[in-house]
Structure formats: structure tokens, C-alpha cells
Amino acid sequence: MWKMTETYVTVCMRRGFADVKKRFQWILIIAATVMCIGAGAAAEDEMVTPPVKIINYRDHIEPILKRSCYECHGENKQKGKLRLDSPAAIRSGGRDGAIIRGKDPLRSALYQLCALDPDNEDIMPSKGDSLTAEELLFLKLWIEQGSLFPDGQSAGGVSENVPLNELDRLSLTLPAVSEAEEQAIEALRASGVSIEMLGKEQTLCAVNCSHVATINQEHLRCIVARIVWADCAAPVCDDALLACFAQAPHLRRLHLEKSVVTNEGFQQLSRCLELEYLNISETQLGDAIVPTIARLPALQDVYYHDTQLTRMGVMELRIALHER
């Protein structure tokens, strides 16, 4: 361990980190203490920032690439259609696509392939010595820090930032799931209701109760503010259950296929102002529901095959939805 540390200090100094030396003096003291109390075995998955702060392409990365990679990925040869001898070439990647993905070394082939086990057939460089631990660390940090080139451009691309969708944004506005809600969700799941948490903050849920015989409506009411998508495509869904879902302020999609909801019960849905999708196929619902549907401001799609809707009712429905 001491040997390793010494090498590390030497490397850092050789590479011009004068301040590192000072820093190391007291780090070494701490290290000695730590080892005395036997905490040398650190948690394996706990990754630690080493003393080097900012990795610079010219000083740290280019020399590694020059020594270990240019021979096969340079001017003379372009194995795998990959060149590593210029920032532009690194950015454009090789036959297998980008070699740097976001700020994630583990998904970036440039780091990942070099960090493989030495006896793995895919390891890079495929000829000559593997990269040293220090070199790997530099590569890793460089990618984590955004793989910047001297011109300030990154190699990681922008597609890595998962775009937020509407549900993600909505999920930000709701409080975290409370303990009581957690219990309700567990109880519902135990009874066979499928509940999937959605959105960036995982504060929304999709509920599928089409495969259960009975549903504990009290539990359902407990989480009703979080329901954005409900599947009650089964005879288990009656007016009473619909009353429950009708209280969901953010309900977007509602499946009522094969349900036994009545025309009167359906009117409760007039409160679902965010409802965008409604499927009432194979139900006994008829023209009486058209005024209720027509007043739902966000509704875009209605599916209605095998219902009691007459041609007249469908036409009214179309006009109502079309006028939006």
C-alpha cells in the first residue's frame, strides 16, 4: 500500500502538480491513522476523488493516447474505424459509435475497454501493456468531468441528458410518498393490484386493477392524488370504483373496457379535468355520456367500439372533440 501511495505521489509530481505534494503530507498522516485503526479495507464500491482535481486533455489524456493507442487508431491504421489522434476524431467515435457517453466512464468505451480484466479478449490496448492504474484514473476522471478538450467542447454529446417529459415535470410538483401511502400501495399490491411509480421523482403512479376480484377503495383513495393512469378494464369496475378514480386530479389515461359503469355513474368523471385518453369499449355506456365527455377540456382520444353509442351520439362526440 505504501508503495502504491509513493508511486502515486511521484506520478502526480512528475505531471506538475506541485500543490499535491503539500496536500499529500497531511493526507499521509491521516492515512497512517486510518490504517492504525484497521480501516484499511474501505468499502469496495465507495469511489473517492483522488487528490488530482482537474484533468486536462493536453497534459494528461493526449500522452496516454499517444503512447498506447495511436499505433492502431491513428494516422496509419484506423482499427474499428476509430482514430484517437485528434479531438474531432475522438468526438466522432468509431464503427461502434461514440466512445464517450455523457459523463459516465462505465458506459464510455474509451474507458470501459481499457479497464477490462487483462485476460479479457476485448481489452484495449489489444497489443502491448495495459494502461496503468494512474492512467485509467485519469481517463475516468476526464470523462466524469465532462471530457473537455482545449476548445472547451465536450466529447460526451448532449443526448445523455434524459429529456424531462410532461409526467416528469408533474412529478416534481407532488410531495414524496408518505409512509401511510407506502403502506396503502403495499396492501394494494399484495391484493393483486399492479402499481408502477412514475416520473422523475417517482411521485406518480399507474394503477392496474383489472386482474383482481375486489379492491380496497380506502387504500386507493389514499393515493388517488398520485394516479395519472388507471386501468380498470374489467367487470370489477363499477360506479363505486369509478367514483374513486374520478377524484384523481391528475388522471390522464383511463381504461374502462368491459367495465359495468353506468351512464349515471359516468358523470362523475366530469371532475377529471386532465383526462386525455378514455377507452369505453365493450361497455353498456350510451349517448347519455356525450355531454359529460364533451365538457372534459383535455380529452383527446375516445375509443368506443361495442358500446351503446348511436351514430348520432358518435357524431355529437366528434363535433365536441373536434371543436377544441
Binding site: 484499511g40 483522488p50 479497464a115
Partner: protein, 420 residues
């Protein structure tokens, strides 16, 4: 030993050196938020086994000398042309994202199929799970009475659940018209008697199950219990395409592939999350054009009937339909002038419905269709896109029984641009 042993060594050295507060600070920064926003609930994956010729189907090159006797037709997307034998696909391009820049290094059928299905290169030491099994692993089954992963018409080389437990394994269906065979209780045994027999079986097994609580023993138990749940379930009808009216059979086509698509739609209606359909015969080394004349109408009818039917039922928004194949075929015709060889470096696949921005063409190949010239998509990226669509945590590590870490995305980056 894991692949990161060397790194772990230096990190544990470094951890010992640096103050622990520093470590925590960094750990909190590097945590990848594990959130999911699915754009689809279900997946129907149509696997064209053998290697569909991209240049004769979705990536036509009319000015290329070896294009052969292929006529093109306009689609419902401006400026996009496909083979005239695919009129149904042409009408549904508004729901479809066409990826023309898939590129892989797997030029043999088995390894190519394996990689498409599991997202990992085939190795002798382990069998990786297919994407459908990843889906069941993370999301469970929505309908507890029937399996969440069904594979129709695939051969025995399908990787299935790989190293995962049997409950993630696909239920194989051979002939869609026959549905799930041997799944009903024999008429000669009353339900009471059957239950009594099962109780006896359980009583005999219980001590063994308790003494050997390992994966293989649990697998037997899971299979029994799932089979019984299925046998008693109302949802057994989901497997019976004969319950469909005859006009439905006609619109999907009176061939195994069409009926498989119809079965897939029924299964999705019963909340089976992942259905894979295999359509073979695309390995057109000989008589490429004659074979495509037979295959394309079959594929086109089943696939376009499936999209239209899902759309009419309000399910297309929630169901991602994937058309995948293991590789493309050589733009140059073989010496006898009528066949095409394996060509993994550029090929086409489709994604439709399920939150996909329809009418998209992603990536491009050169003037011969030989090499990708724009936006290359690796198999890993393609599968990560599918995993993203059903909301799987792409980067979350799962450890195989031998301790090796795997992720469903395997370094792939989802093509977010393809989603609405």
C-alpha cells in the same frame, strides 16, 4: 474476479488515504438517479430471423447497380419510399420510426440473434437474459394469472431468461392457432381431487424444498405454481385465437405469422408485457428476390394489421412494436446474381407506437447501403431504446449468480430523439 478488480484496488487504497467526508461528498455527486418514465406499457417484438435485406425493403438504393428488380412505393411520410411489396407498412410509417443505421459486428446468425435479444455478445461461460426477461425481472407481471413474457414460434436457441430465475423465462408457444396446449384440467379428474393431489405433492416436497432452497429447486416450484394459476385462470382465453371473429383472421392473414400477430394482440390486451414473434426465412443467400416476393407480403399483412388493430383499440400509444433482425444483407449481389450474403455493418430496424415519434427516419447509409454514414446505432443503443420505452433502469447493475455485473443497457444510450 470482476473486471474492475484493479480499479477497486486503487480505489480502496485511495479511500484509506482520503478523509471519509470527501468520499461521501463524491458518492452523493455520482449517484445516477434511477428514475424511469416509460412511454409504453407493452412490447411486441417481431424478430425477422435470418437477416432481413435492408436494401430491398426499407433502405432502397434505386441508383445502385445491384438493387435488382425492386419497385418502390411512396409512404404516408413525405419523401420516404419502401418496397412496393410493403403497402401496409407504407401506410403506417406515420406511426413508425425507421432506423437505417444499425451496425453490428456479429456476422453469424446465432451470435447476431443472441446479441439482438440479450444485448451482450455470446460467451461460453454464461447465458444472458433476453430483454423480455429483464422486463419481467424489473417490472414483474401485471396480470398475475399468466406469464409476463411470451415467445411465439422461436426455436430452441432463444436465450430465454439466461442466468435469471425461471419466473422471468418466456412461455414458448409453437403454433399460434393451437395456443397454449395441454393447459386444461383433464375432464376425468374433479377439481377437488386435483387439489387433493396437489396438496399431497406439496406435502411430499415441502421438506426437500426447505432443505434445498436453491434456484433450481425454486424453479420447479415456480413452474408448477404458474402452471396451476394459468390452468385456473379466466385469462387462458387470451391464448385462444379461435375466439376472434373470422374477419379478424382474414385481416391478419391466414398464415402462421399473421395468426401470431393476432395472438400477440390478444395477449397484450390481457396485460402480457412482452411478446416476441419470430418470422424466419430471411436468410436469402439464394433467390433473394423470389424469396422476398413470398416473405414481404406475409410480413406486411401481419405487421400492418397489428398496427391498425392496436390503433383502433387505443392500444398503439401504449404498445411499442419493434421489428428487429440480426443483420442486413450485402448490397452487392452474389456471383450468380440473385442472392445476398450476411451484412452486419449496416441494416434497418423499425420501432412503432409506444410513444415513438412516428414518421422519423434515423441515420443513413452510403449510396450502396454498405456502410453507415450518419448516426450509427449499435445493438446496445437499440436495446437501450426499447428498455427506456418500457421504463427499465438502463444502468442499474444486476449481479449474475457468479457475481458478474450486468445492466440491461450494456453501455447503450437510448435514442431519445425517437420519442415524442
Amino acid at each position: 474476479m470482476t473486471v474492475f478488480s484493479r480499479r477497486q484496488f486503487i480505489f480502496s487504497c485511495a479511500s484509506a488515504l482520503c478523509a471519509s467526508s470527501l468520499a461521501r461528498l463524491h458518492a452523493s455527486e455520482s449517484e445516477v438517479p434511477d428514475y424511469r418514465h416509460p412511454t409504453a406499457r407493452n412490447i411486441i417484438y417481431i424478430f425477422l430471423s435470418g437477416g432481413m435485406s435492408h436494401i430491398d425493403t426499407f433502405d432502397l438504393k434505386p441508383n445502385w447497380k445491384d438493387q435488382g428488380p425492386v419497385t418502390s412505393c411512396a409512404t404516408d411520410v413525405d419523401g420516404l419510399f419502401v418496397n412496393a411489396l410493403l403497402p401496409g407498412c407504407a401506410k403506417n410509417m406515420k406511426h413508425t420510426a425507421l432506423i437505417r443505421s444499425l451496425t453490428s459486428t456479429q456476422g453469424a446468425h446465432e451470435t447476431g440473434r443472441y446479441m439482438m435479444r440479450t444485448n451482450y455478445p455470446q460467451r461460453g461461460t454464461i447465458v444472458h437474459p433476453s430483454i423480455g426477461s429483464w422486463s419481467v425481472y424489473y417490472k414483474g407481471t401485471e396480470n398475475n394469472h399468466i406469464p409476463g413474457h411470451v415467445v411465439i414460434g422461436a426455436g430452441s436457441t432463444h436465450p430465454g431468461a439466461g442466468y435469471m430465475e425461471t419466473k422471468c423465462a418466456p412461455l414458448p408457444i409453437g403454433d399460434p392457432r393451437k395456443g397454449l396446449q395441454n393447459s386444461r384440467r383433464s375432464k376425468t379428474i374433479s377439481p377437488e381431487r386435483f387439489d387433493k393431489r396437489f396438496e399431497l405433492l406439496q406435502a411430499v416436497n415441502a421438506p426437500f424444498d426447505a432443505a434445498y432452497n436453491v434456484k433450481e429447486v425454486r424453479a420447479y416450484k415456480d413452474v408448477y405454481e404458474e402452471a396451476l394459476a394459468l390452468m385456473r385462470s379466466q385469462d387462458l382465453d387470451a391464448f385462444d385465437v379461435n375466439k376472434e371473429p373470422s374477419y379478424m383472421h382474414q385481416s391478419y392473414g391466414d398464415h402462421t405469422f399473421g395468426q401470431s400477430c393476432l395472438l400477440a394482440r390478444r395477449l397484450v390486451e390481457h396485460d402480457v408485457r412482452f411478446v416476441e414473434i419470430e418470422l424466419g426465412g430471411w436468410d436469402t443467400h439464394l433467390e433473394n428476390f423470389e424469396r422476398l416476393d413470398e416473405l414481404l407480403p406475409i410480413f406486411d399483412q401481419g405487421y400492418s394489421a397489428l398496427l391498425s388493430d392496436l390503433e383502433q383499440r387505443g392500444l398503439l400509444d401504449e404498445t411499442l412494436v419493434v421489428v428487429g433482425t440480426e443483420f442486413g444483407r450485402t448490397p452487392a449481389l452474389t456471383t450468380d446474381g440473385n442472392g445476398r450474403g450476411h451484412h452486419p455493418s449496416a441494416y434497418s430496424c423499425l420501432l412503432a407506437g409506444g410513444g415513438i415519434r412516428g414518421g422519423t427516419v434515423y441515420g443513413a447509409t452510403d449510396e450502396r447501403g454498405a456502410e453507415v454514414v450518419d448516426k450509427p446505432v449499435r445493438i446496445q443503443d437499440f436495446n437501450a431504446t426499447i428498455a427506456h420505452a418500457i421504463g427499465l433502469p438502463i444502468d442499474q447493475r444486476m449481479y449474475a449468480p457468479d457475481g458478474r455485473p450486468f445492466t440491461v443497457g450494456n453501455t447503450g444510450a437510448p435514442l431519445y430523439e425517437l420519442f415524442r
